[in-house]
């Protein structure tokens, strides 16, 4: 897995003291289409235990080992069975989960976590300091995860030590502000899982501490989880304590949008994700259904232009491509107004890092695009209307997509962009859907013109992944671009302890890559869209992250 566009992301905020007992209504980040949304608090009043809920996923996980999976869209599944040291409240503050407390040394090098002493994995193993140490040792083992080991935050990790039965310390080689968010959000598994035959594909052999336990994984069909009756360590942001309400939860994989929606309207499933623009209207018009949308953190879905290969090496071609695009028109037609256009390289939910000054400053200028392309030597046109250079080569920008990472009608947006860029400026976007292996081959060989991507999790880490040099931890530096300026800003932000200083560095970076280097064309704001039957209560977005929450607080009407 070269690409891990899911989000376990370090952040800016480094509160020294945990905001213990802070209760935040999960619906703060959730805008339901109707005012009848009960919300978790309301739900607790009349919650009826029992029953099961089926959730139809657009994307099927390629593995259900939560530590190896990199697909943003299947994370809600993992949140049911696996937990991390800390979680976040709506304002981004850290909330105890498996750890009750943590501290960071003044030099920013030592992170100490105190664990709960009553937590067990679903196979009976105790969650203790040794188990945490075993997890991080494995994460840094290239044989286990060749892509993440020794990269990013793990590269900065000098040692993990057992300071007491329930106290674990992480020592860094140098101060690194995004570390807390990373380390506190890693899904922890029972150490015995690493010897289980299930470890690669995931499954019951990979025990976690969550309120549900993975019961079975049928490829092409579903993952089924059952309630864990002795679960008793719900975080304070949850609406209730003790075991979950539902007996079982099933995530069924239905890649076809029409089938998903049909399954919901005929009550075969209770919740669906991956709504097409037209589906949103159908859901809003059906009073048995509830539409939920929430802004997510991380980086928006964008097109990254390759600065080290193909025509986009020429900055004029990049500027022309960005200028030729009329993103608003495309989104309006594809999503019927149900999606926000992105302008920055982090989502607007990242209030601290988002730069509203970027809004409306670029794009939709075909005249500029055509002038730039004429100057850049792509003056002639071939019989199909595409620009060609003096040598007769077509202005082709290859884009490879792969189904495991394509969702939310993104392929339709790319096709619309393909048609638009051809008409407005004579670009030939060559979009090819390939298998993941081929995608990785192209990625490794830097053999593509542009690549689409988004990262969920946290904006600061997303920016590191997008703009650090690959060898320095830029796992998805799809533009293959890094210079003295970007390095400077990123280093400044990572080592700084002043949130304002960090934010300014990250904003300068975004302005530079978007307005000066034209390396990225931001397309769609991160947004989680789900539709749920009104017979299911308590379905909500996860505080701060905006992604769908687990089903711990969910219950359903009894038929």
């Amino acid at each position: 897995m070269a690409l891990r566009t899911n989000g376990v992301f370090p952040g800016l905020r480094r509160p020294r003291v945990l905001a213990l007992g802070l209760v935040v209504c999960a619906t703060l980040t959730l805008s339901a289409c109707s005012d009848a949304d009960p919300g978790p608090q309301a739900a607790t009043g009349q919650a009826v235990p029992g029953g099961s809920v089926t959730w139809a996923f657009e994307v099927e996980p390629d593995t259900i080992n939560p530590q190896l999976n990199g697909q943003t869209r299947v994370r809600p599944l993992f949140l049911n069975a696996y937990e991390s040291l800390l979680t976040r409240d709506a304002r981004g503050g850290y909330v105890p989960l498996l750890a009750t407390d943590y501290s960071v040394s003044d030099d920013g090098l030592v992170y100490t976590f105190t664990l709960r002493d009553d937590v067990t994995f679903s196979n009976g193993e105790a969650l203790d300091a040794a188990a945490v140490k075993a997890n991080f040792a494995k994460l840094n083992d290239p044989d286990y995860d060749s892509q993440a080991a020794g990269q990013g935050p793990l590269a900065k990790l000098a040692s993990v030590d057992v300071a007491g039965p329930h106290q674990v310390t992480f020592t860094l080689t140098e101060p690194y502000s995004p570390f807390l968010a990373y380390v506190s959000s890693v899904f922890l598994v029972a150490p015995s899982a690493y010897d289980s035959p299930d470890i690669t594909a995931g499954g019951p052999g990979v025990a976690g501490t969550g309120p549900f336990v993975i019961d079975s994984f049928t490829e092409g069909q579903e993952v089924r989880l059952v309630r864990r009756d002795d679960y008793d360590w719900a975080p304070s942001i949850a609406a209730h304590t003790g075991p979950a309400y539902l007996d079982s939860v099933t995530y069924r994989f239905l890649p076809e949008a029409s089938v998903r929606l049909g399954a919901l309207t005929s009550r075969q499933v209770d919740v669906i994700d991956g709504l097409g623009g037209n589906d949103v209207e159908v859901v809003k018009g059906d009073d048995r259904l509830e539409y939920q949308s929430s802004s997510t953190t991380g980086s928006p879905w964008s097109l990254y232009l390759n600065a080290s290969a193909g025509p986009t090496q020429d900055i004029r071609v990049r500027e022309a491509l960005v200028a030729a695009a009329d993103v608003d028109t495309i989104l309006k037609s594809v999503y019927r107004g149900n999606r926000e256009r992105a302008w920055s390289n982090v989502n607007s939910a990242e209030v601290a890092l988002y730069d509203p000054a970027l809004e409306g400053t670029y794009g939709n200028d075909p005249a500029l695009a055509n002038r730039l392309l004429d100057e850049a030597g792509w003056a002639a046109r071939d019989s199909d209307g595409y620009r060609v250079n003096a040598a007769g080569a077509r202005l082709t920008i290859s884009i490879y997509t792969t189904p495991a990472f394509t969702a939310d009608s993104h392929e339709v947006v790319l096709q619309a962009l393909q048609a638009q860029l051809r008409q407005s400026a004579g670009f030939h976007l060559d979009i090819q859907s390939v298998d993941q292996g081929t995608w990785i081959d192209h990625f490794v060989a830097v053999d593509y013109g542009a690549s689409d991507n988004s990262i969920s999790g946290e904006g600061a880490t997303a920016l590191e992944w997008h703009w650090l040099a690959k060898e320095a931890g830029g796992a998805v530096n799809l533009s293959n671009f890094s210079d003295a300026k970007t390095e400077e800003w990123l280093a400044q932000a990572a080592s700084s302890t002043d949130p304002a200083e960090q934010a300014e560095a990250y904003r300068a970076l975004q302005r530079y890559v978007i307005l000066e280097q034209f390396l990225v064309l931001p397309l769609i704001e991160g947004q989680s869209q789900i539709a749920a039957g009104r017979w299911v209560h308590g379905v909500a977005a996860r505080p701060y992250f905006g992604e769908p929450s687990n089903l711990y607080d969910v219950w359903r009407d009894r038929a």
């Binding site: 076809e256 949008a257 029409s258 929606l261 097409g276 037209n278 159908v282 028109t329 495309i330 309006k332 037609s333 594809v334 189904p403 392929e411 339709v412 096709q415 619309a416 393909q418 048609a419 638009q420 051809r422 008409q423 060559d430 979009i431 090819q432 859907s433 081929t438």
Partner: protein
């Protein structure tokens, strides 16, 4: 290709000779005329899609997406605001050319193989026949999928995959016919009269052995059209924005609730084309069988 085509029967089982339509008999057959006219029109569209005066099939106008059929867009617009009529018309080229090329591959490889098996000594015949058995043991669509797994998607590989899976059909029939012809007296006479073997084969055996090929090819064309659409449908065919009918159906089905016209028209076009081909094939077969001695 996964369905059983009407005349896609192993060893010609159950083919009844229908003698109503004799060659030379001047009876007007309206179905045949309509079919032939439709196919001729299709061919015209394939060769010269611009003649119909339709819009650019790739020209998108997102502000006019998902419009129902109207005077401006007779078959409506798709999710990107492209003209469905233009796409259906330009899509004919993909379906027809891929089917023709795949059938050509089947004939080019299958006929010599069948002829060789029919004429060869019994041990070589045995080997070749078994090879064909092996090849046809893989269901057509799966064989095509395996080939594409090895070679990757693309129109060339699509043609090859569909062509290879049709080889046994051609080879079998040609082999059987060759054997029948070979056993007839006049071929023996030719040999006894001292004509060189290859002359006998070329002048007497080949024409009779391949008599059934046009009919078989017609049916094969229909099957290949369906096969190509099926492979495109599951994403192993042509990449977007090619207006291939199977791919259009695949994309359009997600809009079935709000815009039925995106998928219904390419579906109708596909079914009509295959129907016309099969109808023609069936009539041609009846004529061939009614003319046959035996």
């Amino acid at each position: 290709m996964t369905a059983v085509a009407p005349d896609d029967r192993p060893n010609g089982v159950g083919q009844r000779r229908v003698g109503q339509l004799r060659v030379g008999q001047l009876r007007v057959d309206p179905v045949l005329i309509a079919t032939a006219a439709g196919l001729a029109l299709t061919l015209l569209i394939v060769v010269w899609p611009g003649a119909t005066g339709v819009a650019d099939p790739l020209a998108a106008d997102p502000s006019r997406a998902l419009e129902p059929p109207s005077a401006a867009h007779l078959l409506g617009t798709d999710q990107l605001g492209r003209d469905v009529l233009a796409r259906v018309i330009h899509g004919a080229r993909y379906s027809v050319l891929i089917a023709l090329a795949a059938t050509a591959v089947g004939i080019v490889a299958g006929v010599p193989l069948g002829l060789l098996a029919g004429l060869a000594s019994s041990w070589l015949d045995e080997i070749l026949t078994r090879f064909l058995d092996i090849l046809s043991a893989f269901p057509g669509l799966l064989l095509a999928m395996v080939l594409i797994a090895f070679t990757g998607p693309g129109s060339g590989n699509l043609v090859l995959a569909l062509g290879v899976s049709s080889v046994p059909r051609f080879a079998r029939v040609v082999r059987a016919q060759t054997k029948v012809v070979r056993g007839q007296g006049w071929v023996e006479h030719g040999v006894t009269l001292g004509l060189p073997r290859r002359v006998v084969v070329a002048r007497h055996v080949l024409p009779h052995a391949i008599a059934a090929v046009p009919v078989l090819a017609t049916v094969g064309l229909g099957g290949a059209t369906l096969g190509a659409a099926a492979l495109s449908f599951i994403g192993l065919g042509l990449a977007p924005p090619s207006p291939e009918w199977g791919a259009m159906l695949s994309e359009g089905r997600n809009y079935l609730r709000v815009a039925w016209w995106i998928s219904v028209f390419p579906g109708l076009a596909l079914t009509s084309l295959v129907l016309a081909i099969f109808t023609l094939g069936r009539r041609a077969q009846r004529r061939l069988e009614s003319r046959e001695p035996l």
